[in-house]
Amino acid sequence: MSLRTNYPGKPERVYFFGTCLIDLLYPEAGLAGMQLIQREGVQVIFPQNQTCCGQPAWNSGYRNEARSVALTQMQCFQQEFPIVVPSGSCAGMLREHYPEMFSGTPQHSAALAFSSRVYELTEFLTQVLRVKLEDLGKPVKVALHVSCSARREMGVSGAHQALLQQLKNVELLEPERKEECCGFGGTFAVKHAEISAAMVEEKANALLATGAETLVSGDCGCLMNITGNLNHRKRDLPGCHIATFLWERTNAAEH
């Protein structure tokens, strides 16, 4: 289930918005996302001038700073191609918050037009490209953590699940309180470090309790938080972005 109901047919070209977290910490996830789209015969454009969606400043109350960074992004995705984002959180920012951010400014209609072209990656793969995945990997137990933005703002938890369920050797496990936040929340993790610590510890424990061998998420903020906590406590549950996971299991060259 996604919040958007009308989807276009398969386009010839798309833009890819990599996100700043993926750019520096999880570039393999961004690359995997681009390759998953490219494999379906769609040309992927990666504008080199993209930086960050502006969410960190926007959520900290620094609206002018956020707006000026957002403008930089809008300028590098100007043609009428869909914009695919491998993160529920950043996609939510681009799609749901840009119109609010520019309301009452001369850029408002541009922001509306921009945001209407934004898709979260798993949403795009399932609803627009309607991908069919062939699992080439060994049997594995996977726990999925859907980020709060992917679940509530973008409504794409179903898309995450549907893609993983296409993989015949993947057993998908459900953690207790799966809908609860992992406690990342951007600057929240630093500003309210103790609350965040209590939240991530419980989330990590719930994921460990599933007995999964791999943790998969569509958002690198959550991954960095949860796997950071698991590593710190020397618990053996590796995590990766859903794009990395899908690409590795379906790409013949990897097997």
């Binding site: 930086t51 109350g61 620094y62 700073e65 930089t72 509530r152 703002e153 609860e180 950071g228 710190h232």
Partner: protein, 472 residues
Amino acid sequence: MQQSIDFHHRVGSALHDPQIRSNFRQAMDGLMYKRQHSFPDADELLRLRLRSAEIRINALSRLPELLEQLETRCSENGIQVHWAETTEQANAIVLDIMNRHDAGMLIKGKSMVSEEMELNHYLEQHGVTCLESDLGEFIVQLAGEPPSHIVAPAIHKSRQQIARLFSEKFPEIPYSDDVDTLTRSAREILRRKFHAAPVGLSGVNFAVAETGTLCLVENEGNGRMCTTIPPVHIAVTGIEKVVEKLSDIPPLLSILPRSATGQHITTYFNMISSPRKPDERDGPQEVHLVLLDNGRSRIYQDEQLIATLRCIRCGACMNHCPVYARIGGHAYGSTIPGPIGSILEPQKAGLEQFGDLPTASTLCGACGAVCPVQIPIPNLLNRLRYERVRQDHTGATPGQGSQRNPWEARIWSSWRWMHANPWLYRLGTRVATGLRWLIPQRLGAWTRVRSAPRIAKKSLHTLARQKGFTHE
């Protein structure tokens, strides 16, 4: 600064109190489960939320007019209406009514507005005894604490803690931690007081402008007793509680208890429309309605923040808040805790006092998703984060800009410089990936419970270029 230190201190003690942690976790899990099961049909829930939001939006859009109509109808019905701009005025109005009746004791039904007024404290200072008759309120009053939840005031206490409190305060009653026995003890203590109290006080869930009817939702019957047995009934409420017409009540009544406790209907639902009429055998001889503003008309003026006033006080946002579930209600330090408190309290009392509350959220959206009147709580939290640091001093929220920290502002201004200049950003990421081994393993609060993130060898910008993905 001090408020921030105090807040972090309260949060710290709550997080390290295993009793608080488990009491809230269990109670919130139970409340979430019950709510979920009381709305088996997602489409019906959405329709009901849309309808309820529409009713509240309509009422707020016509607030001044509806309040005047409410006053007229109430007066026609014989209810005496009092207006209070501040909590001091509201307290003085209540005291004045008490004094006119030479009343030394007030029996109270549950009212969050009376908590906002700190009415008990005020009246006690003026020689009037207040007795809370809602079981949860009775418990927190015995313990000398404020409520920790707007629907379940004593939810922070376990059954055993309540049993110990009862045996300490009522040594004549034998110790028991059986819930039914404890409830019976409280009931017996309170029953005697109802007949002795000259004045009863209650809150109001909805005030109907069309008919001048005060609606009161409750489960224990104490609300009905407070509003019918004593010869004088005082209802206190915020000015935002008005709705246009009687037919607005069924949808709201259908969604409120289900959102709050998962009940389809509460045990009692009272509609108070007048004092006792000449041919009637019971009911109070006098009914007073105190309408409190206390900053609400200021919130009303902002076209986005006005949504705060839609709230029907079900508590679903706190029940579903992962932060509230861990720190509990007292840590907030405000009358109303949880997500709704974090948007309402800073607007009422000012950001100097409650500037930290809007930041104490991951913006996970659970609150907004369950709100029966669709208050966009995450968006309003975000808006108040802006208000707390903005510098232009336009707008109505008190304490605007008071939380702006020059050091933090400089960080965001450098962040902007870095991310609004693509060439600089690319240079920065090249340096970061090149010197990634220099990144320290300890990164302040982050690495207290997490290992440090590792910067990749090559950025996605570099990988995309090397793999031949076009730039335009």
